[in-house]
């Protein structure tokens, strides 16, 4: 048994594989990134999310990440475009992919208001791509330096992406195994009828049974699609399901580029012969370039480097396994407290909305001022903050600072917050008597979140 596992593991790592899947992944991921970044700029989001807001919700431990001002932000996004093009075509690949990863992650760290699982996914994919030689076949780098070209790579360079995708889908599936999703068909029974004006199927979407079918199919899809993609017998059907599932969700919900990103990157599961065909097809539509005949050559890394990369990857996947489970360490209902919610592939799971009123009290006079949130926050920031305790706390600290500057010593900041979760009806969310100015952000549970009670 042990030998069997060891054997499987060794083949997972070291079997010699053709490099074509890596080259295709580089091009697929790069081109979809290029489109995503351009779309982001064209929609005016650079300004709306990173230039206009006066205040940003940074991530715990990343307070030093600040936006660069208008010029700086546009330069950063220009860099994203340039590096995306560079790593797509495989020009100065390492520099390009490392810069892309750094710039993209930096942008994401500026403000958690814009946090999306698929942005996190992009950072993870870019990070993994740093460690593989995806540019050493069918790339400009190879044209520049023909001696770079290799035809075979150890299997781990391809398998890490498959493993990452299986984890993403599986955890997304596991997170759907809840009472709300499966038994109550929430939140789809709210969201689907809202789409009843769609052509052809619009009428169906108001049927309750359809919400159940979608909920259960979605859960089963996420749970098993990774494994079905791994299996060569089921792969074609699975990929067809990937396309249908993601296009359908993209049609129903406002989820931006996510469906297309997944459709592109799951190509990695296909066999090397499929990838060779894709490359031949691309060669057919690209201008002819004379290259030296492919000699079969294998990627070699010095042992020391291999060890470093293995260590990094083991750490990476350990974190990937742990993060989605960390919520188990917190008391209370996860959807309500959102402690341990992010970075866990919890996608489209809840219909949550809130309204929050902050009050700043001068302890010297006992007088109170209610805050008009729109004076400090964009509508988007306010909406996101209203239902997420860590953001509520950050904003409360910001308000305390503002009033301290106005000359009020130790202002008391309280919040009256009403949140509705999956149609529960709004109810008090946090303890409105607690002085948030003196509460600190920690890894621990926030005791001032009121427990969720069913009526």
């Amino acid at each position: 048994m042990f030998n069997f596992i060891e054997g499987r593991f060794s083949s997972f790592l070291n079997t010699s594989r053709h490099i074509a899947p890596l080259a295709v992944l580089r091009i697929a991921f790069g081109s979809i990134m290029l489109i995503s970044v351009i779309r982001f700029i064209v929609r005016g989001w650079v300004s709306a999310f990173y230039i206009k807001p006066k205040f940003h919700f940074t991530f715990y431990g990343f307070d030093w990440v600040k936006p660069f001002g208008a010029m700086g932000m546009y330069i950063l996004f220009a860099l994203l475009i340039i590096t995306a093009i560079m790593f797509t075509i495989g020009l100065f690949y390492r520099v390009a992919i490392i810069s892309f990863f750094a710039c993209f992650t930096y942008v994401e760290l500026i403000d958690k208001t814009t946090y999306l699982n698929h942005y996190y996914f992009i950072s993870v994919m870019a990070f993994l791509m740093i460690w593989v030689p995806a540019h050493r076949y069918f790339s400009i780098d190879v044209l520049r330096k023909p001696q770079l070209q290799i035809t075979h790579v150890p299997a781990w360079t391809i398998n890490i992406f498959k493993l990452q995708l299986v984890l993403v889908y599986f955890f997304a599936g596991v997170s759907k195994l809840s009472y709300d999703w499966l038994i109550a068909a929430m939140p789809l029974r709210i969201w689907l009828p809202a789409n009843s004006s769609l052509p052809i199927i619009g009428g169906l979407l108001t049927q309750l049974w359809v919400a159940y079918v979608f909920s259960w199919f979605g859960a089963l899809f996420d749970l098993f699609i990774g494994f079905l993609l791994l299996n060569s017998k089921t792969r074609k059907v699975a990929y067809l399901l990937v396309i249908i599932f993601h296009l359908a969700t993209g049609w129903f919900f406002k989820i931006g580029m996510f469906p297309y990103i997944m459709i592109f990157v799951t190509l990695i599961f296909f066999s090397e012969s499929t990838h060779k065909k894709i490359i031949n097809f691309l060669k057919g539509i690209l201008p002819k370039v004379t290259t030296n005949k492919h000699k079969s050559s294998t990627y070699h890394l010095p042992n020391a480097k291999t060890k470093i990369i293995y260590t990094i990857l083991i750490l990476h996947f350990a974190i990937q396994l742990a993060l989605p489970l960390r919520y188990l360490l917190y008391p209370g209902k996860l959807y309500w407290t959102e402690e341990g919610y992010r970075f866990s592939w919890r996608v489209m799971l809840m219909e949550k909305g809130g309204t929050i009123f902050f009050h700043v009290k001068d302890p010297a006079t006992g007088k109170t001022a209610e805050i008009i949130n729109s004076q400090y926050l964009t509508a988007f920031q306010e909406t996101q903050m209203a239902t997420q305790p860590d953001m509520i706390l950050q904003y409360a600290h910001f308000l305390a600072g503002e009033y301290q500057q106005k000359g009020i010593k130790n202002p008391i900041v309280t919040a009256q917050s009403y949140v509705t979760l999956n149609g529960s009806g709004s109810r008090l969310y946090i303890d409105s008597a607690v002085n948030l100015a003196t509460e600190q952000e920690t890894w621990g549970h926030k005791k001032w979140i009121l427990p969720f009670h069913n009526n």
Binding site: A184, F227, N231, I255, V347, G423, S426
Partner: protein, 373 residues
């Protein structure tokens, strides 16, 4: 491969056990009879019986107002001033039923802020009058135009009508003041006509046909603006003047229609207009509105229906506003407790409209644009 699938199934089963013990919903949402709410019928009712009549009436009131200004400017006497003041009040009252719809044609010309930005900037108005220069597109002039600026010119330039009249007859700036008044009322008239023409033209069809709930859909636009306009009422017509945002320091002069002293009356007209949109209620009767939509999707609040909770809170908030008297500025100075009591009830309605209603309908509350996941 099989082993992997079994392992996955086992893990999945374990998670069902862990997670299924906590539930948040009680199977109460969602249409039970499976038929969908006819949003198109709601949009048709709202546009034909509420929105377009509101714009029509407002446009007519600006025509009367502009005519009254012309008469007054030609013959500035006490009778014509009183008539002009009455025409102004009628326009301001009608505006309360018009301000919500700041999307589509109205949004294109920033109708709401161009018509009703207050407190008005008296210094800017006087500068414009004495210089004789007025650029309607200048941001600083937002607070020197529209109904609030006319409110000041017609009621605030003197202690009584005799003193006001003197500003338009014997005062050194009388000629400039008259032409400024004319410019402002002409601008209002033009804007009102622009929006009404658009609604009577292609936009009505556009509005009825965009019957989804996504960004840019008519239901989405309407609900977002209804919530936004309601918050203007709560904050600017009541809260800020009553000092709730300023540690008890009150700002009685910041009320809407400070000079003509009809703030409470206008606030009541405003909230009743919003209530009518919610109910789909018009001169044509109680048509399809957001209330019917909430009933259709069986939206709950605590143990009752969300619709009942909202209707009830409208009644409570209106009751508290009715307990106030004009001039509101005097109320704030003498009996601010009653004003803040009204504010508290208005606040509760904010939660129901902004959080419960939009969430039950699956409408994104956002005034911008973004992806979700």
């Amino acid at each position: 491969m099989k082993k992997l699938i079994y392992a996955a199934l086992l893990t999945a089963a374990a998670f069902i056990l862990i997670q299924s013990c906590s539930k948040s919903s009680v199977n109460n949402n969602g249409s039970t009879d499976g038929s969908s709410f006819d949003r198109k019928a709601m949009l048709t009712n709202l546009s034909a019986n509420i929105i377009i009549p509101a714009y029509t009436a407002f446009q007519a009131s600006t025509v009367s107002l502009d005519a009254a200004v012309t008469t007054f400017n030609t013959t500035p006497n006490a009778t014509n001033l009183t008539a002009l003041q009455a025409a102004f009040k009628a326009a301001y009252q009608q505006w309360q039923a018009t301000s919500v719809f700041d999307f589509g044609p109205a949004e294109q010309i920033n109708f709401r802020v161009n018509t009703n930005t207050y407190p008005t900037d008296v210094n800017q108005i006087n500068t414009n009058i004495s210089s004789g220069i007025y650029n309607k597109d200048l941001l600083a002039n937002l607070a020197a135009k529209g109904l609030p600026a006319m409110d000041y010119l017609l009621f605030g330039t003197g202690a009584d009508n005799t003193a006001v009249l003197a500003q338009f007859t014997t005062d050194g700036q009388a000629a400039n003041r008259k032409s400024y008044l004319a410019i402002l009322s002409a601008e209002l008239k033009t804007n009102a006509a622009t929006v009404l023409t658009a609604w009577n033209g292609a936009y009505k069809t556009t509005f009825i046909n965009a019957d989804g709930t996504d960004q840019g859909s008519s239901t989405g636009l309407l609900v977002n603006q209804l919530v936004y306009d309601y918050e203007i009422l709560k904050n600017y017509e009541v809260g800020i003047p009553a000092g709730v945002q300023s540690m008890g320091t009150t700002f009685p002069t910041k009320v809407q229609a400070y000079y003509s002293q009809m703030s409470v009356q206008l606030a009541l007209l405003h909230i009743q207009a919003i209530q009518n949109i919610y109910l789909g209620k018009s001169a044509q009767g109680d048509g399809s509105g957001l209330d019917d939509y909430l009933v259709k999707v069986n939206a709950k609040y605590n143990d009752g229906s969300l619709n009942d909770a909202i209707k009830n809170q409208f009644a409570v908030a209106i009751g508290k506003l009715q307990a106030l008297t004009d001039p509101l500025s005097a109320n704030i100075t003498n009996n601010n407790a009653a004003v803040t009591a009204a504010y508290t009830e208005l606040q509760k309605l904010t939660v129901l409209l902004k959080t419960d209603m939009t969430s039950s309908l699956g409408i994104l509350i956002t005034f911008g644009d973004n992806d979700g996941d």
